[in-house]
């Protein structure tokens, strides 16, 4: 659940950074190849990012306004990286809180295996 969001966040972020800081200057110079490839890739990966990010924000009880910011972050260079940092810290905060409630035996299980499989 968290892992797949982090993967998508970094993928969309890196592709968008390449698109904006390499592709656009090259297109201005008359070489649209990079924009064509990375524009298409980023477009489709952003759709996947939207689905994965929306799922995670609901599971982490993120309010509506912040959810919108997380979703839009995929269209701003470096935005997805910032959103990923925030959601990851939110996730570990909630995992710690759940561990405090359920006791250490359940806590290790929560932080260990569950997030990767979810």
């Amino acid at each position: 659940m968290l892992t797949r969001y982090r993967v998508m966040a970094y993928l969309t972020a890196v592709l968008l950074i390449i698109l904006v800081f390499v592709g656009i200057p090259l297109q201005v110079e008359g070489h649209p190849g990079v924009v064509n490839i990375f524009g298409t890739l980023h477009g489709f990966l952003y759709l996947v990012y939207l689905v994965v990010a929306f799922d995670l924000t609901r599971k982490l009880y993120i309010p509506v306004g912040r959810t919108l910011l997380v979703l839009l972050a995929g269209t701003v260079p470096f935005g997805a990286i910032i959103a990923e940092r925030k959601l990851t810290s939110e996730y570990s905060k909630q995992t710690r809180a759940a561990r405090a409630v359920t006791g250490p035996d359940m806590g290790t299980e929560t932080s260990g295996t569950a997030p990767e499989q979810a």
């Binding site: 298409t40 929306f54 599971k59 982490l60 009880y61 309010p63 809180a97 409630v101 569950a114």
Partner: protein
């Protein structure tokens, strides 16, 4: 209300953007075709977002949902040792397991909170009805 307005603006906006990208595609830029597929997807996703916004019980999502989850998860583990030890009624292992499972799985807790809300009030309040 604002959510309805946003959707009313968003969907035609996506349609216009799609049409604009069809024009870009026709003019020879192949990227236009890609984006003319993308914009309807954004319209659909906006509709899904709006649907959730309008139909979700505000007590099960966002900050209130989280607070409610924490309140629901905390009492059983705190009460168990002292209050129920004296009369032989040992802590119900099923209840204990449920509390732990809820704390571990927000979705389950959300669902249980929803069921509890249903049993208190047959018509759960939604963002739309406020």
């Amino acid at each position: 209300m604002l959510a309805h307005l946003a959707l009313v603006v968003w969907v035609p906006g996506c349609a216009v953007a799609c049409w604009w990208q069809v024009g870009v595609g026709l003019s020879g830029d192949s990227l236009g075709w890609i984006y003319s597929v993308m914009w309807p997807c954004f319209a659909v996703f906006g509709t899904i977002f709006w649907w959730h916004f309008v139909h979700d019980d505000p007590d099960t999502v966002g900050r209130r949902g989280l607070r409610r989850l924490q309140e629901a998860a905390a009492p059983p583990t705190v009460e168990q040792p002292g209050s129920q030890g004296h009369d032989g009624a040992a802590p119900d292992p099923g209840e204990l397991a449920l509390a732990r499972a809820e704390a571990e799985d927000p979705e389950l807790a959300e669902y249980n909170a929803y069921l509890a809300a249903l049993s208190r009030d047959p018509r759960p309040s939604t963002w739309r009805s406020r």
